[in-house]
């Protein structure tokens, strides 16, 4: 499954700028499972694509094939599609299958047939046709911005890239901006209403309360916020302190809504960070066109989460050239994250496994804190290197690592996961498990990997890659003297040693 790793030189050309598979999956996550079996060349005839459209006839066992076409690069920015199948949802599985086929590079460039040309012409003349054709489905378009929805990171303008390439900015049409502003105003009002009636009100625990808001945010094309709302709803009623956590998250949502409404007034890196968190996307091809950061990257850890039936994998990389940094605001500490996505139950991309060390080009997304990246050309795979405890760049102390994370959060308080590498021992504080060293302690987010963590540490300090989250840190990797234990693989379901010295 394509991911942020790997650029797509072949994706450019007469066939237009090809989408990444995850972009297609995000169009309609709920129909991915039914579309996948159709995303094979054998199910299609008369396929073709150009810089504007992709088309084909889906055979799918019927005597009369469905005629499918999609406008993948509309000037107004809204994806549109058309299919002769009777489905009332859009995009239907045939559209998703065709888009997947195209994203996989299995659709050749060709001149558009008359019906496609006429449809594209109509769309170009009448932007209103967009809404008619797309038959927008509230529930599914949420995934359109999944990269940001994972909560993951703050994309950032890398210094080299900023010097030599035009700034990356999400293109926002006036119509979209109007809808977005209306959605953000609605969000602010909704948060105020929740606080007015109180978090103790029974409505807060009703699924519909949150889901309706998320759907409205999807309509406003603020998919990042919609996903965040759904994540917050998952915390309601969980744990004794859920009110505190939900309240804080509503506060962060309020910040994002306020910042989003002022988007045009913000300066570039701030605007990029806010836009990404809201759900405005930057084209992958534009990111890949930036001047890369070439370094030796170590895959320090990974975390998989399931959101709305999509599995999101974050692979945390760290530049081995980077010394453990002194904490300073905005310093990413040499960290970067690759995101990959798969429908639940499907295999996740794993070309950059935990413990892998590669010399490669990295292209960073824009933003204030430059974490999210695409991996470009891989120059060398260091198969002889293992990320053992003596090799990985460890922060000098827990306090220093927390300050480093704090610097990133000062710039983007809505970050939900930030990596750090520390040397610490698991221990108990007031009945709860924490990681501690001489400078302080960090609460564990949950006990999921506690047995392996304890077995690896035996009560002593060990080198760990962890993810900071608002509710505590989640261990991802234990770096021992002769091996690396990967705790974050959702497929394995348990921890696993993945590398060792020869």
């Amino acid at each position: 499954m394509p991911v942020d790793a790997g650029t797509s030189d072949a994706s450019e050309g007469r066939g237009g700028s090809r989408w990444a598979t995850e972009q297609v999956l995000a169009l309609a996550p709920r129909r991915v499972a039914s579309a996948r079996p159709l995303a094979v060349a054998a199910s299609w005839t008369a396929t073709g694509c150009d810089e504007r459209a992709v088309w084909g006839r889906c055979i799918c066992g019927r005597s009369e094939p469905y005629v499918v076409m999609a406008d993948h690069a509309p000037p107004a920015g809204a994806f549109a599609s058309r299919c002769t199948c009777p489905s009332r949802v859009a995009p239907c599985k045939h559209v998703i299958a065709l888009m997947l086929l195209w994203a996989q590079g299995d659709v050749a460039a060709a001149p558009p047939p008359d019906p496609v040309r006429r449809w594209i012409d109509t769309r170009s003349e009448s932007p209103a046709a967009v809404t008619v054709d797309t038959r927008g489905d509230r529930g599914d378009t949420i995934g359109a911005t999944y990269g940001d929805a994972a909560g993951d990171t703050a994309p950032g303008t890398h210094a080299d890239a900023a010097r030599t390439a035009p700034p990356l900015e999400p293109t926002v049409s006036d119509e979209r901006r109007r809808r977005l502003e209306a959605g953000l105003t609605d969000l602010e009002r909704w948060i105020d209403d929740r606080v007015r009636v109180g978090l103790g009100d029974p409505s807060i625990s009703r699924h519909a309360t949150w889901d309706d808001l998320a759907a409205r945010l999807v309509d406003a094309q603020a998919g990042g916020l919609a996903n965040r709302v759904r994540r917050i709803s998952g915390h309601v009623g969980v744990g004794a302190d859920w009110h505190v956590h939900v309240l804080a998250e509503l506060g962060v949502l309020h910040l994002l809504a306020r910042a989003g409404r002022r988007l045009p007034a913000l300066s570039s890196p701030w605007r990029d960070g806010v836009a990404a968190a809201i759900g405005l996307t930057v084209r992958r091809a534009d990111v890949a066109a930036q001047v890369p950061e070439t370094a030796t990257w170590a895959a320090m850890g990974r975390s998989d989460t399931v959101e709305d039936r999509i599995v999101v994998r974050r692979t945390w990389l760290r530049s081995l050239a980077t010394q453990p940094p002194a904490a300073s605001a905005g310093d990413d500490g040499g960290w970067a994250v690759l995101l990959s996505f798969a429908a639940h139950g499907q295999a996740l991309e794993s070309s950059v496994g935990v413990g892998t060390v590669v010399t490669a080009d990295l292209h960073r997304y824009p933003g204030t804190v430059a974490l999210r990246a695409l991996m470009g050309a891989v120059h060398e795979i260091h198969s002889d290197r293992c990320l053992t405890a003596d090799v990985v760049p460890v922060s000098t102390s827990i306090a220093a690592a927390r300050a480093e994370v704090g610097g990133m959060l000062a710039l983007e308080p809505w970050l939900e996961r930030v990596p750090m590498c520390i040397r610490a021992a698991p221990t108990l504080l007031d009945g709860s498990w924490v990681l501690t060293d001489h400078s302080g302690a960090l609460a564990l987010a949950d006990d999921r990997h506690l047995p392996t963590l304890l077995a690896a540490s035996e009560g002593r300090a060990v080198v760990l890659t962890v993810e900071w989250t608002p509710v505590g840190v989640a261990p991802l990797t234990v770096h021992l003297a002769d091996r690396v234990l990967d705790l974050g693989d959702i497929d394995a379901g348990t921890s696993m040693a993945v590398g060792a010295l020869r």
Partner: protein, 263 residues
């Protein structure tokens, strides 16, 4: 987040006035951009407080360490052996005992990622649990002290301890050479006595062929696989011998556990 703030948010600002924002940046911000009502003021205070907490709060105070487990001087078993064990537990659980036996003979201890799953797996099997604890070393008891869910269970062993009865023709070749064993297997397969459904006895026998004969057995089974392409039982036997050979390569050879000792 102050308790007063949380209480006002839980009760709702219709019923409880929000507290004044704490002095400092939160109060300054409230002065700069006054909210239109009490709910707006509370949300604003929460937002700034949350952002400040996340960015500026330090770690918890240092905490005393647990009394650590005693050190175990034995080296950890190779990573590849651990990977193999995971496959064995899924596909060939009958080989687990041999794997543990080889680790013991090789002087290794269990890699930490294997200790919790093996302790959990043998909670109600005192014999296997004792083997796992011995191979894990002092960390096993230490771990169970801190994670009671990994401790021994008093429920009855869930796994059957019945031995697999060998058919006469197989019993006759238990101690015979590989050629004879292969001939009996080939004849049984040709006569359709041994299929995947009824091949457990053959697999059981092959799982206990002495390690020094595995190479010869592998060659014979490969030839059989060529003669009987697509025969599922033959392929399973090839896989079984392959895994056993790999296990012995990784952990060093050791005498095979005799059939009668195997549960």
């Amino acid at each position: 987040m102050s308790p007063d703030l949380v209480t006002a948010a839980v009760l709702g600002t219709d019923r409880r006035e929000p507290p004044m924002p704490p002095s400092g940046p939160v109060a300054e911000f409230a002065l700069e951009s006054p909210a239109r009502d009490a709910a707006g003021a509370l949300v604003q205070t929460v937002a700034i407080t949350a952002a400040l907490d996340r960015a500026a709060s330090g770690p918890l105070p240092p905490t005393p360490l647990l009394v650590p487990a005693d050190r175990d001087p034995r080296p950890l078993c190779p990573v590849a052996a651990g990977v193999l064990l995971r496959r064995i537990l899924t596909e060939w659980p009958e080989l687990e005992r041999e794997w543990l036996h080889l680790v013991e003979r090789s002087g290794h201890r269990l890699s930490p990622d294997l200790v919790p799953p093996l302790l959990a797996r043998h909670r109600s099997d005192p014999s296997q649990r004792a083997t796992v604890c011995a191979l894990a070393g002092p960390v096993a008891d230490w771990l169970c002290d801190h994670v009671p869910a990994l401790g021994p269970s008093r429920s009855r062993a869930s796994r059957s301890s019945a031995t697999v009865p060998l058919p006469n023709e197989l019993a006759a070749v238990v101690d015979a050479g590989v050629e004879q064993l292969l001939a009996v297997i080939a004849e049984g397969i040709a006569a359709r006595r041994y299929t995947v459904a009824s091949g457990a006895v053959v697999e059981h026998l092959v799982a206990h062929v002495p390690p020094d004969r595995l190479g010869q057995l592998a060659i014979g089974l490969e030839e059989l696989a060529v003669e009987l392409p697509g025969h599922a039982l033959v392929h399973r036997l090839v896989d079984l011998v392959d895994i056993r050979s790999m296990m012995h390569r990784l952990l060093g050879s050791a005498p095979t556990i005799p059939l009668e000792e195997n549960p």
